[in-house]
């Protein structure tokens, strides 16, 4: 996998992970182009598109688009399932995850991603093992940082983006 992007329906980037060295300028350009292309696609269209010499695999979960770039010889369907497994992991970790969880705890989302994919390859596909690794590292975290008061989130939901 070359990179993974998470962005909202409004085109706001929520997470970016690059597995190939690119300059910041290039990253920005790619992100802009891809967000535009993917958002322009209709819901019934297929989840793959050819873009430059890469394959883009994307899937929408609620208001969030997950988008991966793979090489041509890679398997598109399994990439879709990688996205799905990542969502499952997030879901299990946050407890029915929503976009706001990822916005406010994006560094956690990164930690989970790093336990799941490393250097662009699937590192650990067992859900239990990934979460175990995360929990172990989290144990050192103070209790107070973890508690996310739902009041705050509700206020944020009310304000339109």
């Amino acid at each position: 996998m070359q990179f993974m992007l998470l962005f909202s329906r409004q085109g706001k980037l929520r997470l970016q992970k690059w597995y190939v060295p690119l300059s910041d300028k290039e990253k920005k350009k790619i992100t802009r182009e891809l967000v535009q292309t993917v958002l322009a696609r209709k819901p019934k269209m297929c989840s793959f598109l050819e873009w430059r010499d890469l394959k883009i695999v994307y899937k929408r979960y609620a208001s969030l688009y997950f988008c991966c770039a793979i090489e041509d010889q890679d398997n598109e369907l399994i990439t879709l399932e990688i996205i799905h497994r990542y969502v499952e992991l997030l879901d299990k970790y946050f407890g029915s995850v929503c976009e706001l969880d990822i916005i406010f705890n994006f560094e956690k989302a990164y930690f989970i991603l790093d336990e799941f994919l490393l250097g662009g390859e699937a590192q650990e596909t067992s859900k239990k093992n990934v979460l175990k690794a995360i929990e172990q590292a989290d144990l050192l975290q103070e209790v107070s940082t973890q508690s996310v008061t739902s009041e705050h989130l509700c206020k944020c939901i009310a304000t339109p983006q």
């Binding site: 920005k28 050819e50 598109e76 560094e107 596909t125 067992s126 590292a137 107070s144 944020c156």
Partner: protein
Amino acid sequence: MSDVVEKTLTALPGLFESQTGAAKITNRLRQLIKSITELTSKHEEENLIKRELSAIKEQVSSPNTTMKQMREIMVRAMYCEMLGYDASFTYIHAIKLAQQGGVLEKRVGYLAVSLFLNEGHELLLLLVNTVLKDLQSTNLIEVCMALTVVAQVFPKDMIPAVLPLVEDKLSHPKEIIRRKAVLALYKFYLIAPNQVQHIHAKFCKALSDKDPGVMASSLHIYLQLIRESPDSYKDLTGSFVTILKQVLGGKLPVDFNYHSVPAPWLQIQLLRILSLLGKEDQSTSELMYEVLDESLRRAEMNHNITYAILYECVKAVYTIHPKAELLEKAARCIGNFVLSPKINLKYLGLKALTYVVQHDAKLALQHQMTIIECLDHSDFTIKRETLELLFRITNAQNVTVIVEKMLDFLCYVPIKTLTFAPDNSWFIQTMNDVFSIGGDLLQQDDPNNFLRLLAEGKPEEDDQLRLYAVESYLTVLKGHTSHLPQCFLQVMSWVLGEYAHLQESVDRREVIRLLTQLLDQRSVSSETRVWILSALTKIPEGQTDLILDLAESLSSSQDTVLRQQAQELRHLSQDSQLREWVLVENSCAVDSSLSFLDGFVSEALAAGAAPYKPPHQRQEELSLNLEPYSFSLPVSLSSCSITDRQSPTLLSVSSGLSGNSAELSTLILEGVKRVWGKDGYLPQKEATAPPVDEPSAAVQPASQQEAAERIEPRPEPSTQNQDKQQLASSLFVGLGVGSSVSLLGKSEAPPPRFRKKPRPHESSSSSGTSKRSSDSSSRSSRNTTDSFLYGSFPEEEPATSISTFDHTPKSTTANGLSQNKDTKEDRHANTSQILGGDMVIVRPSTIQDKHPPSVSSDLTALLPADLKDLPHSDVISLTSDPSLSLSSCRLFRDEALLLVIFISNCTETVIKDVAVQLTCEELKVCTGNVMDCLEARSTSVCHYALLMDDPHTNVSLTGTVSYQTQPGHTNTLPFSGTLSTADFIRPLVVTTEEYGKLWLSLSHDVKQNLKLLTDAGDPLRTTLNALKDALQLHVVDIIGSEGIVACRLLSGAPCLLHCRVNGAALAMWLRSPHPALPDFILYHCQRALAHH
């Protein structure tokens, strides 16, 4: 105010840290995010972030900032970077955080580093010591973090420093550490393969690790290694096969299951490795047949993940040494993909087909109709993949159609395809299209390849092609040229420069004038100007005056290159001797080995230059490039094209020392066999494809004729399908094994929707063939059923149905004594029509009955012989006046509805010039006829074929009949009538299996609950029979509480109905390729059941 608080807090870190510190930390980020979401404009966001960043900057440089605060700051900095703002001043602090912080800070620090810094970033060097320290830490979490960062970003040059430590971790007791170490080594292998050469044995140990996660991670390395040199790892085939068998057998812990499929990622990785190992190696392939077979068999569940595995499996089966049995199974899998209604699977099916047609072109034949449909798919991704597939099956016979398709979709025409061009004019014309549409989007090679094709041929052989090109370009240049893309202008000017002299009739002055005109255009780029000028250099001979004018005007040009060329031009045109010497008329020999450079090269070597290395070797050493730069021989496009008279294809001027390089061989002109006119693309078809050694116009018509012949025996489909099938036959021509191969595919898996059982009505409308008479018995039995339909009698009452089966209007309308309740109903319907109320369309008998029937019962006997045997409706009177009476009858042919109009002369005199005009907005009225005169008391028949392409609920017909009772006195008699869609529904006879396949391939569906007829013993059967009788449906099968029914709109779009008893209702699910058809059929079903 908050600043004050902030400062207080930073000044007293110890006081607050334990209590409020953490809460405040998350609050700052939350505040930032919240205030960003509240903003309305980009400008405001910029300002806010700018303020935020300067606050961060202030904080990070403050000596009082604690590590804990730093962690929070870093998260905010990451957020700002993600929004696209530059926070590079925090990079160094990220490294510091990783270095100095506690475990929690370290975690964020490492994350920030991996997000902020690229592999090549110089700050990474500062991280090396931290990583070294953490790798040796006793805290497992720190080791994990260090390995994670190493596997993501690490400076290549520093690998040797950490390598021993990472290697050690391969034997760490914790599996998570072993796993991360393996992936770190994988990363090292990718960026610097030489560094990890010596630890192959350790990879092997990782492969046999007892933890499946570690083993799976090691497969990444193996996949890479085997991709590079499959031969070195053949001995591992057995191990990989065993692992895959164990995975399939469910030997892994359930944790690794994904949607109850055991370790799919592992399976896919193994399948990839196996396909690499088994490629072109029979004995290795034999080891894996069994496990591949099992894989194919196991992956049955209907979930994306199994499809992912299946796809990889199919690819493996087609990559390794072939085994017929497996190939067959794989082909079936591809069929499932291609026919799937899920668009993602369809895409993968096309991709698999694209891969597979290289091995087995016949497979494309089986799916041709799907492919044709995909060509018009609204999703560009699908379209593109289809084009890719078409590109792979291009051969001499179908090239024209395929290229046309490609041009339609925008110009992505690889020149290679065009080497199959059937004749000169087509080739040039197509290339013109390619250049003018695709223009500057084309790959740079394409114009060059094209010119090479023109240039390479022997003079006498290819002069015709060149001549054609010259002529065609002159025509183009005479028109509007400002919109033409630069590369097309370049091609044209080169060709004119080279070959204008071939065309005797063309005035050279004219050519020069056209080219000069181009120079004056502002839109022409300076590079193109160079091409034009060099063309002008080649032409002039004897046109000195024009050239001198031109040179004069250009000598003041601002472009130095142009000025220089103008000078050269002037000199050459004035000095004919020099000219002859420079521009040799006959083509010169090309020294492809570039031996003339030998002296130069040996001189350079003696002077200490590095020997030439091919680019791929150079790349590897790039990082260690400590030697002085070696000589390079740059050749620019323009400089080459000015002087290279033979060909502008840019023979890459590389040193003769490189000799054997593979890329070079494609560029050597000498002795190259022209690809032009090469035999068809696929090995299988070589035997049958007509030889196309020379591009000749004869080839194309022949193949088309062949195609046409193959289509002919098939039944006539509706025009839309016909178009598609014609397209299919032209696209897929030449892919079959023998010329007798049916274009519609092999019998194993033909595209189901177009498969028809041969039926007598379809064969032709002509009568008198022996086949026809032998079929008539079967038809007459069908007739009976059909008339059941029109009489709307349930099958349980065969006795009464006979009375309606004499096709006379009497029995249904006039015979009021009939006891049958259906007949009553029919009468009722007719009455309501007479009353002018809303049309009641229960059955096909809906032609409006304006007058009481007075038609004799033997009218049907007047039907033409060839129509007599068709199922028909009752004869209904249309209109009448004292002299003429009109009645009509509908005949149900499979591909059309025939409307027969009987015109009876009620008078004792001859009626002349009887002409019937029939119009209908919704239908295509195909044939009609007119008679000159109608004898007294006689009846004449004319018939119209009505075609319905798009369903309409009601179709109204209007018409007039004009006639002359006395010369000069024309009477007209209007009539009108209504038809229903039901008249156009035909049963679709398919088997349950075909139904299943067809069902999957259809996209539009409608679901609705209908009334279930419960008055009889078997409600489902009764209801279906009622529907079958009312509309001409074919009941395919009834299984338990479900029934499947099929029909089609004439011989066009099919519609499949799936009916299930759901309590007291009938759940009806309709599917059809036609978006509106299910609705109409549903409507008629509702009506039929309501009136039952």
